[in-house]
């Protein structure tokens, strides 16, 4: 077995646990209009991300998916409408692209995971508490990142880097996880493992997972809800893989191939909103 391919707690949980219905709303977009400088680029959108739900956002370059994602992260304000958390205790976390962590940064996987325990003003405590340290160790175990904990992040392979970032997001104990192109520049095996781990986060650990991806096969295979955005024609389509891939707006951009190979029926029978 290749280094870094061993089964983790997330992998085994995903195989054993039966799928469950999506749960409580975690994140709500209500009549959300995205854009820059007050100019909208897509029509108003309603979307609810629920517990145990895997949402994939797809579209071509310049389609508006990055703008949508940045709006969701709170990096740019919405033109109108609002984004609200399902309850005050709900927390969100972000998993950056592995390439966005500077290759010069001499940070080790354990240290990176430790950043997951920081929120609000708790950095005023100069050292992590014992409980925080335990949660970091548990997160490393859960993500299968124990073996790489002491290694510099820049020395890790693409799959190992993703595992370290997953450990960090587990350490946050967030309810909603937002990921930007998590499988970019990965080989097929690492990509498959990463997506299975993300599915396990959603379906077994009960998180809401939102992934921006260029890869339609990833969306078709793993997502409960797909959101296709198209800035050029100012439209979006939301639903299961078949609904989205066979929609005329999607076929106008990508042709009929995805529709013909789309899985029959929704993954989990959930409605997007």
């Amino acid at each position: 077995m290749a280094h870094g391919d061993h089964e983790t707690a997330l992998d085994s949980a995903h195989r054993i646990a039966p799928p469950q219905e999506p749960g409580e709303p975690l994140l709500k977009c209500e009549q959300l209009v995205i854009g820059y400088g007050g100019k909208d680029i897509l029509p108003p959108m309603d979307l609810v991300v629920r517990r145990r739900q895997f949402v994939a956002v797809v579209g071509r370059n310049g389609s508006g998916k990055s703008t949508w994602f940045k709006t969701l992260l709170g990096l740019i304000p919405p033109v109108s409408g609002q984004i609200t958390l399902g309850a005050p205790h709900i927390r969100s976390a972000y998993v950056p692209q592995t390439s966005s962590i500077d290759s010069l940064l001499p940070v080790h996987a354990r240290e990176l995971t430790g950043w997951g325990r920081l929120s609000g003003w708790n950095f005023l405590r100069p050292f992590p508490s014992r409980a925080d340290r335990q949660k970091v160790e548990a997160a490393l175990d859960t993500a299968g990142a124990r073996a790489i904990a002491k290694r510099p992040f820049h020395d890790l392979s693409g799959g190992e880097k993703q595992r370290a970032l997953l450990a960090r997001v587990i350490a946050t104990e967030a309810d909603v996880v937002l990921l930007d192109e998590p499988t970019a520049a990965m080989d097929a095996v690492a990509e498959k493992q990463t997506m299975l781990r993300l599915c396990a986060l959603a379906h077994d650990r009960g998180l809401g997972v939102v992934v921006v991806s260029h890869d339609m096969s990833v969306a078709a295979e793993h997502a409960d809800v797909i959101l296709f955005v198209d800035r050029e024609h100012r439209c979006y389509v939301m639903g299961d893989a078949r609904t989205v891939f066979c929609h005329p707006a999607f076929r106008r951009q990508y042709g009929d191939d995805y529709c013909n190979s789309a899985p029959q029926g929704p993954h989990r029978g959930n409605s997007p909103a």
Binding site: L73, G74, L75, S92, A93, Y94, P96, S100, I101, D102, L104, L105, P106, V107, H108, E111, G114, W115, G116, L118, S119, G120, W121, F123, L124, P126, P128, P152, T172, L178
Partner: protein, 290 residues
């Protein structure tokens, strides 16, 4: 009987005049350590030219303070001039340059060139302080005043306490800004604290030691530490130590070999980078074995 008068050795001269030299050595040590610590952020956040522009601006601030005193009859402490202008330059360089349809490099180039040129022009009109201006730009000053030492020590101590206390927050915000934003950290506040810290420390140290060695401490110390590829906390520690060595060691070197102080401190900073590269080369075979 004939008496032979031997000139005391350099070392004996140094020891007998220790009271004269202790302040500048202590000042260089503190400045080297604190700027060495901050240099890790400067280098890893790819702000080396921010440091260059800010140190140049601090030199301009000192020149303007002299100019105001001589030609306008207004007393402005050169230290205040250096700090005000370097902090102002730091805050200006924090502005998102895309708003002006410029890249950050072009903004930095403008600040660097304008501040350097303006310092020379202002220096030309204050001939009686020309030596001081040269000292500020190139670090040729051999002595520091008690006030300058006091300022460097107090500002350095406050900044070190603050940065060690907020280390976790500032590193997270510095190296994963979006992640820190999503997790609710006060990103803008922590960023401003870091940038203002760099601006103040550069300003205070440029007045006491000169712009050139300050630039060297605030960049080369981290480069030397990063070459060793240590963990992040050890990188900060090593850069702090190397900055201190360059500061104090450069002064000794300048005294014993009759070189300008600022140039010696700068060259020693560079020599430390080379030395760390050799250490890394020597370490590599052992790491491979392990």
């Amino acid at each position: 009987m004939e008496t032979v008068l031997l000139e005391p050795s350099k070392w004996e001269q140094f020891r007998s005049a220790w009271e004269l030299f202790q302040d500048p050595i202590l000042c260089a040590l503190i400045a080297g350590c604190v700027l060495g610590f901050l240099s890790v952020y400067v280098v890893l956040r790819r702000m080396v030219f921010v440091s260059a522009a800010v140190t140049n601006t601090a030199g301009l601030g000192v020149a303007l303070a002299f100019f105001a005193e001589i030609h306008l009859g207004v007393h402005v402490d050169p230290l205040v001039g250096a700090v005000v202008l370097s902090v102002a330059a730091t805050l200006l360089l924090m502005v998102e340059p895309a708003r002006l349809r410029l890249s950050r490099e072009s903004l930095l180039g403008c600040a660097f060139a304008f501040a350097g040129g303006a310092a020379i022009l202002v220096g030309d009109r204050i001939a009686q302080e020309a030596h001081d201006i040269q000292g500020i730009l190139f670090g040729t000053a051999v002595l520091v005043t008690p006030d300058q030492l006091h300022a460097v020590a107090v500002v350095g101590a406050v900044l070190m306490v603050l940065h060690l206390w907020w280390y976790r927050g500032i590193t997270f915000v510095s190296f994963d800004r979006i992640g820190a934003t999503v997790q609710g950290l006060p990103v803008r506040m922590l960023d401003t604290v870091l940038m203002v810290s760099i601006g103040i420390m550069v300003g205070v140290c440029a007045r006491a030691l000169g712009a050139l060695p300050v630039f060297a401490f605030s960049t080369l110390s981290a480069i030397a530490a990063l070459v060793l590829d240590l963990r992040l906390p050890w990188t900060f520690f090593t850069a702090t130590v190397l900055g201190g060595i360059a500061g104090a060691g450069g002064y000794f070197f300048a005294y014993f070999y009759d070189f300008p102080v600022g140039g010696s401190q700068t060259v020693l900073s560079g020599v430390l980078v080379l030395l760390m590269m050799l250490v890394r080369l020597a370490r590599t075979p052992f790491q491979r074995k392990a």
